[in-house]
Subunit: 408 residues, 2 copies
């Protein structure tokens, strides 16, 4: 039996969320633990109660909506995402996974279905990390990846502590309310990348989160007047950096699946008629396989030093933020695949570039993710968009995946 959600109700939930913290350009500004976040949380709890869910709030402000199953004291099938946004964020990032989860619960109510395992829908606190950095504090806390002391002491740019902000909006709950035993976790999310949109494929079955290494590069040349210095006398840091950026990019032609990006570059003194004396840039390197990524990082580091010598400058290279590939669970992936097949949607396997609450959850319980299209891959931006039909397809896949997982 392939169930489908109630589209109109689901879209009305999405519309309610889109009205709280709305920006002029169809986006949302709903930073975590602000008054606007509280307004969303209050509404959300009303909706959870309307859906006859048992509501709990834990000591990180994570909100749970529980629906009992047939088996007593059984581990739960957990699903969810986050309702907080970037300061100029979109309406879908995170929100889709929570609101679709709510609709899943209501659809089960409509059909009077009691699953074997109990279900818990989770709204995680501060996934974005836009107000309190680092991101994913709520999921990091309940999975033991971050300690309570650490999380409570994280400060925003106005030096407000996380714990105090949580207390201020009345969402500091009990440690006893945290997620206990989970059988699995699944997160529906917009892709935040253009692959599904470019390929016109409905659903991304996420195999894991790519490993990442950031390589910080500092190129040192010698500042000089653009008119005065002959070409052969120059030590042009920006010219050398251009060769380095291209070399890093060219590695993606040699190494299948490698993604290399230079997104940030700072040039000094950045004056039209002055030969640059210092350039700093960061190479972001990602791959599905850690050993391939490590090899690529080593190769580019060697190449950077060679290029510095070739172009008459010096360079300093050091590795910044780094994490290994996070593989998702084959059995959960399999349930997603079955749901997609039952629904007759097109699908492809892919890896997530960005991190998600699922990244921490995967260290705690078998986990996987479902992606739907983002138009042009735009995200963290008011132009973020996903069409209604894709939101609905995502919610239907979540519904049937949860049904599959919750069956004994």
């Amino acid at each position: 039996m392939t169930l489908k959600i109630n589209e109109a109700r689901f879209l009305s939930y999405m519309a309610k969320s889109s009205s709280i913290g709305a920006t002029e350009n169809n986006g949302l500004n709903r930073l975590t633990l602000t008054e606007v976040d509280k307004e969303m949380r209050d509404l959300y709890i009303e909706l959870l109660k309307e859906a006859k869910l048992e509501v709990r709030i834990d000591d990180f402000g994570n909100i749970y909506g529980r629906r009992e199953g047939k088996i007593k004291n059984a581990p739960v099938i957990a699903f969810g995402s986050h309702l907080d946004t970037q300061p100029c964020g979109g309406r879908f990032d995170g929100i889709l996974g929570v609101i679709a989860g709510l609709e899943v619960m209501q659809t089960l109510n409509d059909h009077e279905i009691i699953t074997d395992y109990p279900l818990e829908l989770i709204n995680f606190t501060n996934e974005e990390g836009a107000r309190f950095n680092p991101p994913m504090l709520g999921s990091g806390g309940i999975t033991g990846n971050l300690t309570k002391d650490f999380i409570y002491d994280v400060k925003d740019s106005d030096h407000v502590r996380f714990e105090d902000a949580l207390t201020a909006i009345g969402y500091k709950g009990q440690e006893a309310n945290r997620l206990k035993e989970a059988k699995s976790f699944v997160e529906l999310h917009i892709e935040q990348g253009p692959i599904l949109d470019n390929e016109n494929i409905d659903i991304g079955i996420v195999q894991g989160i790519q490993g990442l290494t950031r390589v910080n590069v500092k190129v040192k040349g010698v500042t000089n007047h653009a008119g005065g210095a002959r070409m052969k006398d120059r030590k042009d840091a920006l010219l050398a950096a251009a060769y380095m950026m291209i070399a890093a990019n060219k590695m993606t032609e040699e190494i299948e699946g490698l993604r290399v990006t230079v997104g940030k570059i700072d040039n000094f003194p950045n004056v039209i008629n002055v030969i640059p004396g210092l350039v700093e840039f960061v190479i972001d390197m990602r791959h599905d396989r850690d050993e391939v990524r490590h090899q690529a990082v080593q190769l580019i580091e060697e190449r950077l030093y060679e290029l510095a010598t070739e172009h008459n400058v010096s360079c300093e290279v050091h590795r910044g933020w780094e994490y290994n590939m996070v593989p998702f669970d084959p059995s959960v992936i399999q349930k997603i695949r079955e749901a997609v097949n039952d629904l007759n949607y097109s699908a492809m396997d892919l890896y997530s570039g960005p991190g998600h609450d699922a990244k921490y959850m995967s260290t705690y319980t078998p986990t996987a993710m479902i992606f739907v299209k983002s138009v042009d891959g735009v995200s963290h931006n008011e132009n973020e968009w996903t069409e209604d039909e894709d939101l609905i397809k995502g919610a239907n896949v979540l519904l049937n995946t949860v049904l599959g997982l919750a069956q004994k």
Copy 2:
């Protein structure tokens, strides 16, 4: 007869200048028409009078020190430069040409020499353009390249008008005091480039000021998440810009004497994990021959559009500031060459990249320039440096050039 200046007196003059507006790091902050500039001007006028020169101030605040010659009512041999500096400038840029001029006058006094033609030493107002932009207002005014109305209405960043600032420090003189008929103009200056220092050559005999074209380039790609977007789907504006910068630089290998610099680049949004959607940069192109420069500009413009297509982005190219090569006068150049030979200094012909008061003066009277070494070519910076022996060599060349020019 090869005269030489009085080294100790000359260096004591330089030291006096170095004490007015001195910065902590051996530089000078002596912005034009400030109280510090007034202090320098007051001292300078005392020194001109000590050297028995007839002092005049014109309506742009340019200060003249005149020494009569044998021929009555003859056109003057003019020389000089500027005493104003950048906000974090050095002790030599401009100042050398004025102070060495003063020492030239005193040396002639020492030897009781009366030249055939009268001599006029000029300190030009606002060469730097650091407070009142554009630069070279004083020389621009007396040569008719800029109108009095335009100059008087130029405002600094606090909206103070040039005329009001001139009046405030008591240096608004008479229009009748402007330079009248000149037979020639010669300017001694530090190179502000590394050529003489790198080649260990004493004197640069400046053939002219290179022509310049600024090419403004805007590269438009599409912003996306570094983790989400596959390499083949990307429209990376910074990567395309890297290819463009290298292509512009490579043109200097094909076109002898061409100088190409990208000094300024702005990358948007400039976030580590976001593929750049927009890059703006400026290509500064200089050559001694205008037709070669024009050809190079046209070639690079075509190449930029090709590269945009090759790298899946779009680009807009438009020409910004542009001026033609300013050739100096062969007869004045010849006098400099004779002076250098008589003094037995090493010398080379070169072109100036930066503009100077001599650029405007060359439109008014036969003009040339003398360069001395700048250590590492550093200028517009407190680290600007020229050794005493090079300052002295420059002053000796100025002395003998002036003597040669002033002889009937």
